[in-house]
Amino acid sequence: MLDLLAVVLGGVATYVTRVLFLVTKKVRPPRRSLRYLPLVGPAVLGAIAVPGILAPRGEVSLVETLPAVAAAMLSWLLFRWSKQLVIALVGGLILWWAIVFVLSVMGLRT
């Protein structure tokens, strides 16, 4: 029950971030912070993406990190080329699966 309450309150906190500057012109971000707001997205999304790519199973290692970095680079290239999230994501995943499969067959990855 407390977990559900936490999720509901998390939903309220999320709604506040979405509605705050949308609902009235009187409430605007502080002038000084406006300059830095565009950095919020890169900082938060980078903090989510980078650890998962460099340490897919929680730690940096050749057999885990290199396939994931290769997949990330291919995804990046595909996204630059196609501008399509689906193509970039599926392409990266397929390359990652292929490398992981080969490493597993070679007995280098469990």
Partner: protein, 248 residues
């Protein structure tokens, strides 16, 4: 002369709704691996599956949901969970500030309801619609597109998350999906890297989060985000003249 025929506007609104459904479905397709993987990760925690499933329609923000469920699973208290969700979703402050000037004709009620759906993909679709050379059309067309696309995304996200929570464990081990989550977020961050400060914010945020990932309650993400913001802010202050947008 007869009064203008209202049907063209109705037809344009219908077309906007159809476009919203189509774009929402296309974007949701890209989220399938992430959605299933997120559900599977949530299912591995000790948190009740019903709570994990409920987080989809209630929070409707994948990263924040993952953080919240993992924090709950590791025994964190409600204040820390809510704070973490607020910090992870604070980028939505930017979305609402950025979208507001485009919603000139929207009523207060429409804004209050629309805000609930203002997630990453909804913002991405809507801002690109507004910034087309022909714009987003009349108010009715804007509302039609916004609510059609966002409701499709909201329903799709919630359903796929539930499938991931309930059946994620059935995905065979030879089809690992754990990289789908970081890859999706990498692809979401790429369009945001428009200058040196953005690149530094993402890189420092990511490396700091990696260095701090062993800390309890998933606080590595928060530390990474704050470190990225500070580093990006320093670069921004040094590389950009100190002026604030005139519409501030």
């Amino acid at each position: 002369m007869s009064a203008p025929d209202p049907s063209p506007d109705r037809e344009r609104t219908r077309a906007a709704i159809r476009a919203g459904v189509r774009d929402g479905l296309l974007l949701e397709l890209g989220y399938i691996p992430f959605d299933l993987a997120a559900g599977a990760v949530m299912a591995q925690t000790v948190v009740d599956p019903g709570v994990s499933i409920a987080s989809g329609p209630i929070i409707f923000a994948g990263a924040a949901q993952l953080v919240a469920i993992q924090l709950l699973g590791s025994g964190a208290g409600i204040p820390l969970v809510v704070l973490a969700v607020f910090i992870v979703n604070s980028r939505h402050l930017l979305y609402s500030a950025s979208l507001e000037p485009h919603l000139e004709g929207w009523s207060r009620k429409q804004r209050l309801i629309g805000a609930f759906f203002l997630s990453d993909p909804t913002y991405a679709l809507m801002i690109s619609r507004f910034e087309r050379p022909e714009g987003a059309g009349s108010k009715r067309e804007q509302l039609g597109y916004y609510f059609a696309s966002s409701i499709v995304l909201w329903v799709g996200w919630s359903l796929l998350l539930a499938v991931g929570v309930l059946f994620g464990g059935l995905i065979p081990p030879w089809v690992p999906l754990e990289l789908a989550i970081p890859l999706t977020f990498l692809l979401l961050v790429l369009p945001l890297l428009k200058d040196q400060a953005g690149v530094v914010a993402a890189a420092v945020g990511g490396l700091a989060a990696l260095a701090a990932q062993s800390l309890p309650f998933g606080s590595g993400l928060i530390i990474g985000a704050i470190a990225g913001l500070v580093a990006g802010g320093i670069v921004l202050a040094r590389t950009t003249p100190r002026e604030v947008a005139s519409d501030a």
